[in-house]
């Protein structure tokens, strides 16, 4: 039986007195293991399905199959709403308890869905969020699953604006996961919505993968043992902080809040933070505090506090001190994947030279910690970015950076 755990590790405990030092912090949150008679939480899902014109044919057929599959594995304690959108938003089914009768009825409605016109992603998504919010019950696990194959071109289409709304809805108990199908959607938009919305982003290359990937999300939700997990870091004045991996963060004064959302049993989260410490004043050390909190299976509060001390020493001693290499190898991967994701965003905008220069620089600085194979892989990406990528390799590469930088591939 694993208990809720939170640890902070650092590459070295020494920081230089005379000059600023960079330290790497590794935050590790371990959710509790499921109790023996684990009953999965009741789910309150909203399936939001793009049925714009481009979905017609195979894609829509597989989506229907996936939605029906999710419906099949749900039980009477669960609730589901189905919303379809093209230019307009069609409530296929309002949120209902998944009784056998409701299953049959919703199934028929899903089967009758046809493809339509343009992509009002925000409209469909917000309607799905409304359904989930309206059906929310204390203790149930809420989640909106947004599936799309196209660019949002009606309603709210701005990445930042959609991200803000996803973040605000997460704070209000309605997280979102996003699923991009095919080649025509914007992977950065969908990843951003999932990062801010406390869910997961999936790239679905071939329509026939849709049912499998929906099932993966469903399995994860069913295994959640720690909900709404957050980490708050308290750092002394003068220390600057960079959180890698595009996690949702917020800063108030000397505190950084990180949202890790719901964690399934055995789904350990590792987050990497770069600290830049100021030269010593009259103090012998700096103390970083960390608190991880969340809610357990029965709604009980989970909370672990820990402290980490960084000791001031002469610069020469700091430079000679060995680093924790295992930690630096994990960090190196996350660092280079974070930069590669940023570079891919530039490449998509046509700024190829800048993109490859950026990744090349990051690769050089992480080189001591990367294996030869990884180094070679990213050197290849630098070259391909310079020439320009096609849509499919953009998305495949972006998906790889996403899972690496958030260590979801572990």
């Amino acid at each position: 039986m694993t208990e809720f755990a939170f640890e902070m590790h650092v590459d070295s405990e020494l920081i230089a007195r005379e000059v600023p030092s960079q330290r790497v912090l590794e935050l590790v949150v371990t959710p509790p293991s499921a109790v023996a008679a684990h009953q999965r939480p009741a789910l309150n899902l909203g399936l939001v399905i793009d049925r714009s014109g481009s979905m017609s044919g195979d894609k829509l057929e597989y989506v229907k199959r996936a939605a029906i599959h999710v419906l099949e594995v749900m039980q009477e304690q669960d609730r589901v709403a189905v919303v379809a959108y093209d230019t307009e938003v069609t409530p296929v089914s309002p949120s209902v308890a998944v009784t056998p009768a409701a299953k049959a009825e919703i199934k028929a409605k899903i089967e009758a869905m046809r493809s339509g016109n343009m992509t009002n992603l925000s409209g469909g998504w917000l309607a799905g969020c409304q359904e989930v919010a309206a059906a929310a019950v204390e203790g149930h696990l809420n989640r909106v699953l947004l599936l799309t194959d196209g660019l949002a071109n009606v309603g709210i289409t701005d990445l930042e604006e959609l991200g803000v709304h996803a973040g605000q809805l997460l704070l209000r108990g309605v997280p979102t996961s996003t699923f991009g199908v095919g080649r025509d959607f914007d992977e950065h938009l969908l990843e951003h919505m999932a990062n801010q919305g406390g869910g997961r982003y999936y790239y679905i290359e071939h329509p026939q993968q849709i049912p499998g990937i929906f099932e993966e999300e469903f399995r994860e939700l069913a295994a959640v043992t720690a909900r709404n997990v957050q980490v708050t870091l308290g750092v002394p004045t003068g220390v600057s902080v960079e959180v890698l991996g595009s996690w949702r963060t917020e800063q108030d004064d000397r505190h950084w809040h990180l949202w890790l959302s719901d964690l399934a049993a055995n789904q350990r989260r590792q987050v990497y933070v770069k600290l830049l410490t100021p030269p010593a004043g009259d103090q012998p050390q700096l103390t970083v505090s960390g608190v991880a909190s969340g809610k357990g299976e029965g709604g009980e509060p989970l909370r672990v506090e820990t402290l980490l001390n960084l000791r001031y020493a002469p610069e020469t001693e700091v430079q000679a001190a060995p680093l924790r290499m295992d930690l630096m190898e994990r960090f190196g991967l996350v660092e280079v994947a974070t930069r590669a994701a940023e570079a891919l965003k530039l490449e998509r905008k046509g700024e190829r030279e800048q993109a490859s220069a950026m990744l090349s620089m990051s690769l050089a600085s992480s080189a001591p910690y990367l294996s030869a194979a990884i180094h070679e892989e990213y050197s290849g990406l630098v070259e391909r970015m310079r020439r320009g990528l096609d849509e499919e390799s953009r998305k495949t590469s972006h998906q790889r950076q996403y899972t690496t930088k958030q260590r979801r591939d572990q």
């Binding site: 014109g53 093209d86 230019t87 307009e88 938003v89 069609t90 409530p91 046809r114 493809s115 339509g116 016109n117 343009m118 009002n120 925000s122 409209g123 917000l126 309607a127 969020c129 409304q130 989930v132 919010a133 309206a134 059906a135 929310a136 019950v137 204390e138 809420n142 071109n153 009606v154 309603g155 709210i156 709304h165 605000q168 809805l169 704070l171 209000r172 108990g173 309605v174 308290g234 108030d252 004064d253 505090s289 506090e305």
Partner: protein
């Protein structure tokens, strides 16, 4: 107020926060600096009430700066009113619903529900769709102004755009009459 006094650890335990949090609130000016008695700082019942209020304000997702401003500018009763008003709206999910309504009020184009009421405010992007394109979408209904509605039977309607009606008016009316006739006969057959 009672004259009961607490040490910081007792106060933290009673208020359900950490000692660190109390120190943070003091450093941020949300709580006044404590009185000292000999070597110890002591806190009275007012601190306990204040911390509980701050926690409720935090639960309303107010940032620290905002909380400090409210504490400085509002009376206890006003603050209690604010928090109660907020909490009364708050069932599970109520808060998210209020947020979404706010978004949709500011951006009515963000959502057009599939229903006649919303069709009158279909977005400009749709309005500029050529007729053919709109028709290709199975059941898309652009702007209500440019469309005519024919009721064939209860629950069965035909929607025709003005240009199509101008071109195929006679055929459309025939279609409607045929439809009505078919349904009438179908009804009798049963």
């Amino acid at each position: 107020m009672s004259s009961r006094q607490y040490l910081i650890g007792e106060l933290a335990a009673r208020a359900g926060v950490s000692v660190r949090t109390i120190r943070y609130y003091i450093s941020e000016g949300l709580l006044p600096p404590p009185q000292t008695r000999g070597r110890y700082s002591v806190y009275d019942e007012d601190y306990l009430q204040r911390i509980r209020l701050i926690r409720r304000l935090k639960d309303a997702y107010l940032p620290i700066k905002e909380i400090r401003y409210m504490l400085e500018t509002r009376t206890e009763e006003e603050l209690e009113d604010f928090v109660q008003h907020y909490e009364s709206k708050l069932g599970p999910g109520g808060d998210a619903l209020a947020y979404i309504s706010g978004v949709l009020e500011r951006r009515p184009d963000a959502q057009s529900r599939d229903g006649l009421a919303s069709r009158s405010r279909a977005s400009a992007a749709v309005r500029s769709q050529p007729v053919d394109n709109a028709r290709a979408g199975s059941d898309v209904m652009p702007d209500g102004a440019g469309w005519r509605r024919f009721v064939i039977a209860d629950g069965l309607e035909l929607h025709v755009s003005e240009p199509v009606l101008a071109q195929f008016g006679r055929a459309v009316r025939q279609l409607v009459r045929d439809g009505q006739e078919m349904l009438r006969r179908g009804g009798q057959a049963r």
